[in-house]
Symmetry: C2
C-alpha cells in the first residue's frame, strides 16, 4: 500500500516533506510516492539518506502556491504535485494523499480528482482537539462555511465511524456545538440539527457548550465549518497567548525566574500535549478515497505522522465503511 | 443619578447583590435602587452595614428564575425585581439597570420595557475580552443567534461609540471575526458584511482570524451572537482547562512542586488578568437606556463593578450618542 505525498506543498517543502517521507519509511515502513520536481526530489532524497528506502519519486512539473485561487489552480495546473498526487489515488496507484499545501486546493483536488462518496453532500475536515481527557474529533473544521442540518448529520455519521475505527471506541459520544444545553437553544441551524441528530443512528449525547469542549466529555463534536475553523484557530491563538502571558508573569521577579527555569521542561511537556502536529493532520472525510490535510507549517515529524494516519485510514478502509453505513441508512429509510 | 439593581437576580443573590450595592455606594458614591423583596433586602442592608448609605429599597414581590422562558416570564411577572427595575429606567427614575439574573430575561425586559433605539434592529451584548494588549469589545456576545450583514454594521457603529466614550479611544479599530484575512473569505454573512463595513463610517481594519483575536490589534470585534457566544465561553473554558493542565504538569515531580509553590502568586496574578468579572458585566447596546448584564456567578465585587460601568455609560450618555450617530447616517443617505 503506497501513500502519495505532495512533496512541494507546505511552508517548509520540499526539505521537510522529503525528510518526513524518510522518517515514515524508516520508522513506520510506509511506502511513499514523493510527488514533485524529479530533479530536486531525487537530489534531496540522496542528500538526506533516503536512497535505499521504499520511496519513489513521481514527477510533477508544476506546483500550486498558497495565494492561488484553489479551484482555478486545481483546474489549470494539471501537472501540479497536488493534482498528480490526487490522480494517483483516483487511479488506485496510491491508497491515500497527504498535502501540507493550500487547504482549499487540497480540498478542490480531492473533490474533483478523487470524488465524493455517493450520498455525501459535503465532505468535512476532521481535526483532533486536545482535551483534559484525550483528544476529540471536531468536524467540520473549515471545509464548509455554510451548512444545513442534514450536513451536520452526515458529519456525525462520518465522525462516529472514524472514531470507532481509528481509536477503537465502541460507541463514540457525539455532541453538537451549541450555545446552550437545552434542545431549544441555538441558532436556526443547530436547533434543527438537534432534532435530526436525535434520530440519527449515532450515540448523540446532546448540545455541548464551548466552555465544556475541553472537558472531553464527547468523542466527536459536530458544527458548521465556519464555527469549527474559529474554534480550531482560537485554540491555537489562545494557547499561545496564555503561554506569552504566563511567561510575562513568571519572569517578573528574580526568584520566580529561577522557579520558572526549573519548570521549563514541564511547560515544554504541556506545549507538546497541546501541539496538534502530533496528530499528523486532518482527514477530509466524505471523499471516495483518503486525503490528509496537514498544517502549512508542518515539519518532518508532522509529515511522518500525517503519512502514518493516512496509512491507517486506508488500511482500515474507512471510506468503504462510510459507504456501507450510508447504504444501510438508505435501506432503512 | 440612580442605578437600579435587580437584587434578586444571580446565583448568589441577594447576599452578593446587597453587598455589591454597599461597595458601590461606599467606594464609588453611587446611588442604588435595590429592587426586590422589601423585607429581605431591608434586613440584609442593615446586617451588612448599608443603612446610612444612598441605597433605597424598591419592593418587588416576584422574581424570575434561571430556568424560566425569558419572554414568558417577563410578560407574566410584572412585579418581578427585573421588570420593576426595567420600568424604573423607562420612567427615568433610574439611569440604568444592572442584573445578574437570566441573560435572556434581562434582554427581554430591556427590549419590552425600556425599548430599542429607533433604527437599531438588533441590540447586541458587548463583552470585554482580555488580550495581550488590553481588553477588546466583542459584540454580539449572544443576543442574536442569527444575524444579517446590516446588523453587523450596526454592531460596529455602536461598538465604536462605546469604545470612544468609555476608553477614550479617538478612532477605535473595528475588525470582523472571520476565517481568513482576504475579503473574499468567509461565509455568506461575513463576505457580505465585509463589503458593508468597508462603507460604514467606522475605522474598519478588515477581517480578524480567531488565532489573532488575543493579539489585541483591534478595539472592537464584530460577529453574530452565536459565534460571539462560542468565543466568549471558549475563552472561559480554554483558560480553565489550560490552568488544570499546567497544574497537572508542574506538580508532577517533587522539585517542580516547590517551584510551582514559588510561582503561585504569579499564576494568581495571571488568573486575575483573565478574570472578566473585573470588567463588571456586559452592556446591552442598542436599547433606549442602559442595561448591564452581569455573569450569573457575580460576587459583590463584580456587582460593584457592574454598577460602576452602568453609571459611566449613563453619565456619558452613550445611548444618546448612538441615536445621534444614527441620525447623521440617515441624513447622509
Amino acid at each position: 500500500m503506497k501513500i502519495a505525498l505532495d512533496a512541494m506543498g507546505g511552508d517548509f517543502a520540499p526539505e521537510e516533506t522529503v525528510k518526513g517521507a524518510i522518517l515514515a519509511a524508516k520508522e513506520k515502513n510506509i511506502e511513499v510516492l514523493l510527488v514533485g520536481d524529479k530533479g530536486i526530489l531525487t537530489d534531496m532524497l540522496k542528500q538526506y539518506g533516503g536512497n535505499d528506502l521504499p520511496i519513489r519519486v513521481i514527477h510533477a512539473a508544476q506546483q500550486i502556491e498558497m495565494g492561488e485561487h484553489p479551484v482555478k489552480a486545481v483546474r489549470t495546473k494539471k501537472d501540479s504535485s497536488l493534482v498528480v498526487g490526487a490522480n494517483l489515488v483516483k487511479q488506485k496507484e496510491a491508497a491515500a494523499l497527504v498535502s501540507a499545501g493550500s487547504t482549499g486546493a487540497a480540498m478542490a483536488a480531492s473533490l474533483f480528482n478523487i470524488g465524493r462518496i455517493k450520498g455525501i453532500e459535503r465532505p468535512a475536515i476532521g481535526t483532533m482537539i486536545p482535551t483534559l481527557k484525550g483528544p476529540l474529533l471536531l468536524l467540520d473544521a473549515g471545509a464548509n462555511t455554510d451548512c444545513r442540518p442534514k450536513h451536520l448529520k452526515q458529519f456525525a455519521v462520518m465522525g462516529s465511524i472514524y472514531s470507532q475505527e481509528m481509536f477503537g471506541l465502541s460507541n463514540p459520544r457525539v455532541g453538537l456545538l451549541n450555545i446552550g444545553e437545552e434542545e431549544t437553544k441555538g441558532n436556526e441551524l443547530t436547533i434543527e440539527a438537534y432534532k435530526i441528530l436525535s434520530e440519527t443512528p449515532v450515540n448523540f449525547v446532546g448540545n455541548i457548550e464551548a466552555r465544556d469542549i475541553l472537558k472531553g466529555d464527547v468523542d466527536v463534536l459536530v458544527c458548521d465549518g465556519f464555527i469549527g475553523n474559529v474554534v480550531l484557530k482560537y485554540t491555537e491563538g489562545l494557547a499561545s497567548a496564555l503561554f506569552a502571558m504566563i511567561k510575562e508573569e513568571i519572569t517578573s521577579t528574580f526568584v520566580s525566574k529561577i522557579a520558572a527555569g526549573i519548570l521549563k521542561p514541564r511547560f515544554k511537556a504541556l506545549k507538546n500535549r497541546l501541539d496538534y502536529s502530533e496528530y499528523g493532520g486532518a482527514p477530509l472525510l466524505g471523499i471516495d478515497g483518503v486525503t490528509i490535510i496537514s498544517h502549512g507549517s508542518s515539519d518532518a515529524k508532522a509529515i511522518k505522522n500525517a503519512l502514518a494516519v493516512a496509512f491507517d485510514i486506508a488500511e482500515k478502509e474507512i471510506p468503504e465503511k462510510i459507504k456501507k453505513q450510508l447504504n444501510i441508512e438508505d435501506g432503512g429509510e
